[in-house]
Each structure stands twice: as structure tokens, then as C-alpha cells.
């Protein structure tokens, strides 16, 4: 885990965290990634004048404090490596400030920023992946600058639904393995062995291994991995690498089996990002259930969706239970399987749009990755919603494994 790295100073710009009772959870997550939270000092005059200077008038004093603290970072009064911007979920005024503070810091500094809207149910576990990504970006800029895979390395992505592995040699994928995740270690072994077999190399020849995904710690420990890294960093790197878009801006979208990620990337390094994991109706699982109900394989659902029109199906809910019920009702009312498949893809895309893409700048190229990106109807639905072309790179389902193998090659010389 990257917590063994140097101490990272994170500035906390927040409103309501202490009164929601979650400050201890934030501190716990920060401690686990070997970081320390700092609260930029500001003078009372800074708070009183900030609305004029920032150009945003708000009623809540804690939001003025957030803006004043952001300014003290921009002007260099306080030195930090990363910034955590957080406000209460469902506070409209705070959402505007959170978004503008993040944009302000993004434009005026090169400091990595993450933003989060919390409730009293937010836990350290929820925040950990985000903090891990934030500190990695701050701590490992040179590693993240790597654009080519060198030597013979492997990557294992232990996801919630499937486990993927690749073996790479001299900037090329030479072996791949993809199996359903059943028992985390056994599935990782199987995927890795498949990749090794296809590559025609022995395990002991592999010079460095990187792991990512939900099972990254367990799998990383088992394989004595050189790099154990969360998905935000790895997927960003893997996506721009596979799409050949390593320079400049990009947006990476990954609809996973258990959660979704939307990441705004600059030169292959994640900037703003959001992770969702509240609703199964917005995940790959929803599409799996739709495929099952339609009696088709998951890899056939996408092609079916391309032939359908989502507007012919009335969906009353995004929920994995009631949404599926809507689809079933539509089938009973005479809708075609093609229209139902298209409606399911549109429903997932719409939730990604409503819940996550509101919080990040959607800059082209928009890259869709992960296993769900191969369900052709989904990138199409996202493209229609965002009014931009969506690119699905080759081997998009191996994004985490490729990103891990690429970054792991940075450890070969060590």
C-alpha cells in the first residue's frame, strides 16, 4: 500500500463535517494513507472580503471560510500537497461553492483536489479509496508520468465481478486472462495463469507485478506485488495509455460491477473524480440482470440495444428491482427485446450522467473503459446524453490490469 510513502499534507476545506459527526472518519482515512489533514489559517478580514474577491456571494459563513482557505492555498500562504473539499449532501449552496472552489484550485494550482458530499453515514472505508488516489497523485507524480511499459510485467485487477490479468512485454500486451471473481485469490491465480499461458512465460520471469481493484490488498500480498494501487489512478493511466491519449485532457468513465468512476484526467494524472457506489441500478449488475431476463448473454445485450429505441419503453425507476420490473412490464405489454435492452443501457447511462458527471468537467476525449464498455448500447447511450463521441479503446476491459502492469514497470530498476 502506498501509505509507506512520505507524509502528505492535505488541506481540508469543508462545511458541516464536524457537525455531521464524521470528522473522526475523515481523520481515520487520512491516517491510513500516511497523510495529515491541515486547516489553512485565515484572518477574519479574509473571510469578510472573500465574496468580493472570489466573486461568489453566499449566506453561510463556513462556505465563506472554505473560499478564504482556498485563496490562502492559491496565494501560497499555506503549503499543501493535496486538497479535500467536502460539504453536506443535499445542500445546494454548498454544492455550488464546492464545485467552484475545486475549479478555482484546479485552474490556479497544480495541486490535486478531490471533492465529496457526505452524510452522517460516511465512513472512513468510503473515503479510503479517494484519499488513496489523492495522496498517490500527490506522492507519485514521477511514477504517474510513465508513458511506456518496459520489461516483462504483469497486472492483476481483482474486481467485484470479474478478475482480469495481463502480461506485458516492451509496451505490448502478450497475454490476457479474464475470469469471474468467485474466491478472490483463486480467481486471481486463474486469471494470472491464463495470462501467463497465453504469453508463454513463466511466473518467475515476471519482473514486477501491480495489483488493483477491490481485492488489491489481498491479491497484492499473495503475489508479493511491487505496486498495490486503487482503481482511480490505475484506470486513468490505463485508459489514456490504451487510447493513445496520454497528453492533454481526457475524461475516463468506468461503470463497474459495484461502483462507477468518472475521472477528469490531465496528462494521464487524475484531477477531479467521483466514485459512486450507492445504487446497483447504476452498475453493471443492472445490465447483467436485464440480459438474464431477456435470455441473452451479457455480451449479446449491447448489440441488441443498438437495434432498439429506449423511448419505446417507459421506465418508472432506476432501481435494480423496480427498474427491472418496468422492463418486465414493457415486455408483457409487447415491447421488443431490442427496445428493452436499449432502455436498460439508457437507464444506467442516465444515472451516471445525473449522479456523477455533474461534478466533473467533461473534457474530450471521453474514454469508456471496463467490461461494461463492451456492451455497445452503453457507450452509445452515454454518447447521446453527453452529446460527444465516446471512445472505447481496444482491450478496454483490461484497463486496470494494463494500468497496473504499466505502472509496475517503474519498479523494475529498484
Amino acid at each position: 500500500m502506498n501509505s509507506t510513502g512520505n507524509l502528505v499534507r492535505i488541506a481540508q476545506l469543508s462545511c458541516g463535517a464536524e457537525y455531521s459527526g464524521i470528522q473522526a472518519e475523515i481523520d481515520s482515512a487520512v491516517k491510513q494513507v500516511n497523510a495529515v489533514m491541515v486547516y489553512p489559517e485565515v484572518d477574519i478580514e479574509d473571510i469578510e472580503n472573500i465574496e468580493e474577491e472570489f466573486g461568489l456571494k453566499v449566506a453561510s459563513a463556513d462556505l465563506k471560510l472554505m473560499m478564504a482557505r482556498a485563496k490562502s492555498i492559491v496565494t501560497g500562504k499555506v503549503k499543501v500537497d493535496a486538497v479535500f473539499v467536502a460539504t453536506c449532501f443535499r445542500c445546494a449552496e454548498a454544492a455550488i461553492v464546492r464545485s467552484e472552489v475545486r475549479r478555482y484550485l484546479n485552474e490556479k494550482t497544480g495541486i490535486p483536489v478531490i471533492s465529496y458530499s457526505f452524510t452522517e453515514r460516511t465512513t472512513a472505508g468510503t473515503l479510503l479509496t479517494r484519499m488513496e488516489a489523492l495522496t498517490t497523485t500527490a506522492r507519485r507524480k514521477s511514477l504517474l508520468a510513465r508513458e511506456e511499459q518496459t520489461g516483462l510485467t504483469a497486472g492483476i485487477d481483482s474486481g467485484s465481478t470479474t478478475t482480469k490479468s495481463v502480461v506485458m512485454k516492451d509496451n505490448r500486451i502478450i497475454g490476457k486472462g479474464w475470469v469471474p471473481t468467485i474466491k478472490v485469490l483463486e480467481s486471481a491465480e486463474e486469471a494470472f495463469n491464463n495470462a501467463l499461458e497465453e504469453a508463454g512465460v513463466k511466473r518467475e520471469d515476471i519482473q514486477a507485478i501491480g495489483t488493483t481493484g477491490y481485492g488489491r490488498f489481498l491479491v497484492g500480498e499473495h503475489f508479493n506485488a511491487d505496486l498495490i494501487q486503487e482503481e482511480i489512478t490505475v484506470n486513468s493511466k490505463g485508459a489514456v495509455y490504451l487510447a493513445g491519449k496520454q497528453k492533454g485532457s481526457a475524461t475516463v468513465l468506468d461503470i463497474g460491477g459495484m461502483d462507477n468512476k468518472a475521472i477528469s484526467v490531465q496528462d494521464g494524472i487524475p484531477g477531479m473524480f467521483t466514485m459512486g457506489g450507492i445504487c446497483a441500478g447504476a452498475s453493471g449488475r443492472f445490465l447483467e440482470m436485464t440480459a438474464k431476463r431477456l435470455g441473452v448473454k451479457i455480451d449479446e445485450l449491447g448489440k441488441l440495444a443498438l437495434k432498439g429505441n429506449y423511448q419505446n419503453v417507459q421506465m418508472n425507476s432506476y432501481c435494480i428491482v423496480f427498474g427491472i420490473q418496468s422492463l418486465v412490464n414493457s415486455l408483457a405489454a409487447g415491447s421488443t427485446p431490442e427496445d428493452v435492452a436499449a432502455a436498460a443501457c439508457h437507464s444506467v447511462a442516465e444515472q451516471l450522467f445525473e449522479q456523477q458527471l455533474q461534478e466533473i468537467d467533461v473534457k474530450e476525449p471521453v474514454l469508456m473503459v471496463g467490461g461494461t464498455s463492451l456492451i455497445e448500447g452503453l457507450p452509445k447511450a452515454v454518447s447521446e446524453l453527453l452529446k460527444v463521441k465516446v471512445i472505447v479503446p481496444d482491450n478496454a476491459q483490461y484497463i486496470g490490469a494494463v494500468g497496473s502492469a504499466l505502472l509496475a514497470s517503474g519498479f523494475i530498476l529498484k
Binding site: 462545511c15 457537525y19 459563513a61 445542500c91
Partner: protein
């Protein structure tokens, strides 16, 4: 009398209420209770994720957790208030609880109690400041005589 003050952490208002022989209902005492509660370790003010649930008494779950957490601190102050002094549009240094939505709800609840209440604008000049103190002291004195009348 127990006099609710707004801003609820205003040291000046709290001091004025005490000087006229009344008990100020200020947020400092509630935070103090939290901080001194043994066995709790949820820094900085020992509010835990359970506290916003107590705030459900005043606002539904759709209201941000930060508002409900603050409301849990105000609970006993609102319940105990026998009179109230509310300063309109104060500067931050006069006292502040950080969240405008909480302030709106607290002021509404205090007004809804129909207790003796003084609402006064924050002074912008020295002259207004004198008038400000004069109005507050007049109100506090009237409470005293009212309490005396009740006792008599």
C-alpha cells in the same frame, strides 16, 4: 429568565444577558457538555454520527446532516428558552454558527414559541451601537420586572 441569544455563540450578548441577572442560553454550554463527556472520542467537538439523528426532531432526513447535527446542539436551548434576543445580519466576528440554513430554522423555531422576543439589527455606527445596547438592556430589564410581577 432563560434567554436564548442569536448569534448563539455571541460572547457580547451572553455577557449582557448575565449582567441583567438572567441566564443566557448559548451554544458554548452545549458544546462544553459534549467536549467534557467522558468516553467519547470524536474530535473536535465530540459530535458523533448519532447526533444528526437527534436533529430529525426538527428537520427531515432530506435536510443536510450538518444542519441536523447543529440542530441537535440547539435542542435544549430552544426547549428551555423563555425569552429571546435575535440580532439580525451580524458580522462574523460578533458570533456565527457557520450555516445559514441552520440559522434560518433556529430563528423560525424561536419565533414560533411566541416568547418575549427582541429582534434588533446589528449596528453599523457608534450611534447605532449605543441604541443597540440600550434596546437590549431595556428588553432585559422588562423581562426582570415581568419575572418579578409573576413572582408577586
Amino acid at each position: 429568565m432563560k434567554v436564548f441569544i442569536y448569534p448563539t455563540n455571541s460572547l457580547i450578548l451572553s455577557d449582557l444577558v448575565e449582567r441583567f441577572g438572567h441566564e443566557p442560553l448559548a451554544i458554548m454550554q452545549e458544546i462544553g457538555k459534549k467536549v467534557r463527556t467522558p468516553g467519547l472520542d470524536s474530535p473536535p467537538i465530540n459530535i458523533t454520527p448519532e447526533d444528526p439523528k437527534f436533529g430529525l426532531k426538527y428537520a427531515a432526513v432530506e435536510v443536510p446532516s450538518g444542519v441536523r447535527g447543529r440542530m441537535s446542539l440547539f435542542d435544549s436551548l430552544i426547549a428551555d428558552a423563555e425569552a429571546a434576543i435575535v440580532v439580525r445580519d451580524p458580522v462574523i466576528s460578533f458570533g456565527c454558527m457557520g450555516c445559514a440554513r441552520t440559522n434560518e430554522l433556529v430563528n423560525f423555531l424561536v419565533r414560533a414559541k411566541k416568547i418575549p422576543m427582541l429582534e434588533v439589527d446589528y449596528p453599523e455606527s457608534e450611534e447605532e451601537a449605543k441604541e443597540f445596547v440600550y434596546k437590549i438592556s431595556g428588553f432585559l430589564k422588562s423581562l426582570g420586572s415581568r419575572a418579578g410581577e409573576e413572582e408577586a
